[in-house]
């Protein structure tokens, strides 16, 4: 079975090899174990990019393979980030609080410890009591479970409601967008108990490894992201090959016909929607400790739309296309907005890329949709077929 799977999908091997090589090069050039040619801040950027590639694959499966244009997968990404962020904040604050109590004659009660932690975490945003959703924040394992469970359950319930009432096409896209908007508006409220607009911060400090330098933390997370991407790639490549792959591609091309053939279209769609949501959650949980802060702005509907843009530019319906799109566009984007691109002087006007990059992105996106529906990944077909 495995043999045939690899044989049928040579691209998987190529991808794993490329990813492995990339990881090795970054490791050798990193500050912690290698020559230090790549600064820690760039290792973090690369690690984050790998997480974005992972969610892009998930997006590709749900859209490029199954035909559901979800504008809500970044919400699941954010939920994953919030889930791990809660533990990171809680545990870090707990160790600070315990240390400050350590010097006192009378040992603190459980209530005093929890009050002090609450005050530290929420004092910043003007309250001090633990909201109910923080009930499991003290337990790493439960919180890790949340990374998978919460996006999975949300996707399951939402998907069940939506697919059951046969909401499809653009309606579904708008509905997923509304879901994202509702979630980000909810999180923007201070009353939501997740620190409102401030979000969760200081996530790069890993409790238990306070003494580890950020150069080490960043590299470890880079490895973890690379591993997750590899695992995700293999899993989805397996999922979209074989019989199930054929069914979901059939749903994309003609839903009614697949239904007439006796397949339970809704169940397939729900499965794909939920599984990709879970993977998005995992990607988010790896991303935000590298970013250091998560706040509701991250989940705004625009982020999910960018995700679709990456996948479309990279090339839909092929997993490596999604990876290329996410890596290429997000890195290019930070190069342009970071002032990396030289300004073009037209004599009467100077084009500053920080101002004009979004115009370029928007228009190139229109061009890709109109003229290159296969995206960058389409170039590979061209290369492969030519000889």
């Amino acid at each position: 079975m495995r043999k045939t799977f690899i044989a049928e999908n040579p691209s998987v091997l190529w991808f794993l090899a490329a990813l492995g090589l990339f990881t090795l090069v970054v490791t050798v050039l990193s500050e912690w174990v290698g020559t230090g040619l790549i600064p820690t801040s760039f290792v973090k950027t690369l690690g984050k990019t790998l997480c974005l590639c992972l969610i892009a694959i998930a997006m590709d499966v749900v859209w490029g393979y199954c035909g559901i244009l979800s504008l809500g997968h970044f919400a699941f990404f954010g939920i994953g980030g919030y889930a791990i962020g809660m533990w990171l904040m809680y545990a870090r604050t707990e160790s600070i609080v315990l240390e400050s109590f350590g010097s006192q004659v009378i040992p603190p009660t459980q209530q005093e410890i929890s009050d002090a932690i609450g005050n530290q975490i929420f004092g910043v945003v003007g309250s001090s009591e633990f909201p109910a959703i923080w009930a499991f924040a003290d337990n790493l394992y439960l919180q890790l479970l949340m990374i998978v469970l919460v996006p999975g359950l949300l996707a399951l319930v939402f998907g069940w409601l939506a697919f059951r009432s046969r909401v499809t096409g653009v309606y579904l896209s708008i509905l997923t967008q509304a879901m994202t908007l509702a979630l980000s508006l909810y999180l923007f409220q201070n009353d939501s108990g997740l620190r409102g607009n401030n979000g969760l911060s200081g996530l790069q400090n890993i409790p238990g490894f306070e003494t580890a330098p950020q150069s080490a933390v960043s590299l470890v997370f880079f490895w973890a992201s690379a591993f997750a991407l590899a695992a995700g790639y293999v899993f989805f490549a397996w999922a979209v090959s074989g019989k199930m792959g054929s069914v979901i591609k059939g749903i994309r091309d003609n839903e009614a016909r697949v239904r007439f053939l006796g397949y339970r279209v809704e169940s397939y769609k729900l499965f794909i929607f939920t599984v990709t949501a879970v993977v998005s959650g995992i990607a988010g949980a790896l991303y935000y400790p590298q970013a250091g802060i998560i706040n509701p702005g991250e989940i705004a509907p625009i982020a999910s739309i960018y995700l679709a843009v990456w996948v479309a530019i990279g090339g839909r319906g092929r997993l490596y296309g999604a990876v290329i799109g996410a890596a290429f566009v997000s890195l290019l984007s930070s190069w342009f907005t970071g002032g990396g691109a030289p300004a073009i002087n037209l004599g009467f006007y100077t084009i500053q890329w920080t101002d004009w990059w979004l115009v370029l992105l928007g228009l190139s996106f229109v061009a890709v949709t109109l003229f290159f529906p296969k995206g960058i990944g389409g170039l590979f077909d061209y290369l492969v077929r030519k000889p």
């Binding site: 530290q120 790069q204 802060i293 920080t354």
Partner: protein, 428 residues
């Protein structure tokens, strides 16, 4: 218009960079990081501060730089993206190896940067009024803490305007939330019943104000004088003031004091209907002193004749000059040396009097209250003496017991009851 302005500032940045290289006899050039968003939602406010920094550095270089070296400005763009602030701060400190950073506007961007600055022992000057409840070893807060803006404004409402009933309107984020919590407690301590305090939070960019304005007007139904304390942020103010004007609410009926509306914000509004409403800051462009006239003139020459000056610009002006003086006093730009030299640094305010850097990393500054004029400026009608900034407010039970003193106690979060330092890093 905006484009040509931006263009000139970029050119200046380039000129500065090249003169910086020319000062080759300085083995280790002095680098100043500027961490303000030049794109995205915050660009409008922060670009002004970036230009202010470039102007101040240019002026300082013309006067011989610092420690005999030219100052080189390293400008990066965190693009109003909070995680990017942390990334860019790390880049400034590790790749560009800057000696000091001037930057940030929003609280969330500051919280994003804090862990990086503290880990790498950098130095940040933060120029905007904020909610307090923080004192980092590596940050100097040159904007107002709540007791330097909100509390005096409320005192003014209570004492001078005789306001008996308060509407606290704010945008839903940390600054209004914390400030309003402090004010609620403060008002209750001053004998205002909790029933006489109406609190409302609206989202960023809110535009549908009719119902809220009606609610505020209805507060006057028990014959008490109503006043509005506004921590409404940014664009939302436009709709709010338009609705106030439409409802015929004059400053004599229901005065509004705003903490986030300055000269810049008023330029997007027709102020003829808002005359007499108030704002509280540490600086107004209309302050009549020689230093201010000079500063405004330099600014208009640098950035354009139609530009206005505002409070955070003065904060950068004071902060930068204090840093130059501290580095000169310390004889080095080493962070720890400069930090100890900062305590007790004095520099004249643009509004008169002298700002002093306190051991809690906040400034002692005067508080001004201005009435909006028809020209979009402020008539200064009240000015206090220097008010020392308080990192931990005295009006919330949890922070009443905390104090910050980096000079004597070496701690930014010291519990005076248990006599222990709660933590050396800050709470982010």
């Amino acid at each position: 218009m905006a484009q040509s302005l931006k263009f000139t500032s970029y050119v200046t940045a380039a000129v500065l960079a090249s003169t910086g290289l020319a000062a080759a006899e300085c083995a280790d050039p002095v680098k100043v990081g500027v961490l303000h968003s030049l794109s995205g939602t915050m660009a409008i406010s922060e670009t002004t501060l970036k230009d202010t920094m470039l102007m101040l550095i240019e002026k300082q270089n013309a006067a011989g730089g610092v420690l005999g070296c030219e100052i080189e400005a390293v400008v990066v763009d965190p693009a109003s993206d909070w995680p990017l602030f942390a990334e860019k701060a790390r880049e400034l400190l590790t790749v560009h190896e800057v000696d000091v950073i001037f930057g940030n506007w929003t609280s969330v961007s500051r919280k994003s940067v804090l862990p990086v600055i503290e880990e790498l022992n950098g130095l940040l000057f933060y120029p905007v009024q904020y909610e307090g409840e923080e004192s980092s070893r590596n940050v100097f807060y040159t904007g107002a803490a709540p007791n330097q803006q909100a509390i005096p404004a409320v005192d003014y409402f209570l004492e001078e305007l005789g306001v008996e009933k308060f509407a606290l309107l704010g945008t839903d984020y940390v600054y209004p939330r914390t400030t309003n919590n402090i004010l609620e407690q403060y008002l209750q301590d001053n004998g205002i019943a909790s029933d006489d305090i109406f609190v409302n939070y609206t989202p960023f960019g809110h535009s549908d104000w009719a119902t809220i304005v009606a609610d505020v007007v209805a507060l006057g139904e028990d014959g008490k004088q109503v006043g509005v304390i506004s921590t409404i942020n940014g664009d939302a103010n436009i709709g709010f003031y338009k609705e106030l004007a439409a409802a015929g609410v004059s400053a004599d009926d229901i005065p509004v004091v705003a903490f986030s509306v300055g000269e810049e914000e008023l330029s997007g509004l027709d102020t003829s209907n808002l005359v007499g409403h108030l704002a509280a800051w540490n600086y107004f462009q209309s302050a009549e002193t020689e230093a201010n006239a000079e500063f405004i003139e330099a600014w208009k020459e640098f950035a354009g004749a139609d530009r206005v000056t505002n409070d955070p610009m003065e904060a950068h002006y004071i902060g930068f000059n204090m840093w130059v003086n501290a580095a000169t006093a310390a004889g080095t730009t080493d962070v720890d040396a400069v930090r100890s030299a900062m305590y007790g640094q004095e520099f004249p305010n643009l509004t008169g009097g002298t700002a002093v850097m306190l051991p809690n990393h906040h400034l002692a500054k005067p508080v001004l209250i201005g009435e909006i004029t028809a020209e979009g400026q402020f008539d200064i009608i009240s000015k206090t003496g220097e008010v020392p900034g308080d990192a931990w407010t005295d009006f919330l039970p949890a922070s009443k017991v905390l104090t910050s003193d980096w000079k004597e106690l070496g701690c930014g979060m010291y519990n005076t009851e248990t006599k222990t330092c709660v933590q050396l890093t800050s709470n982010y």
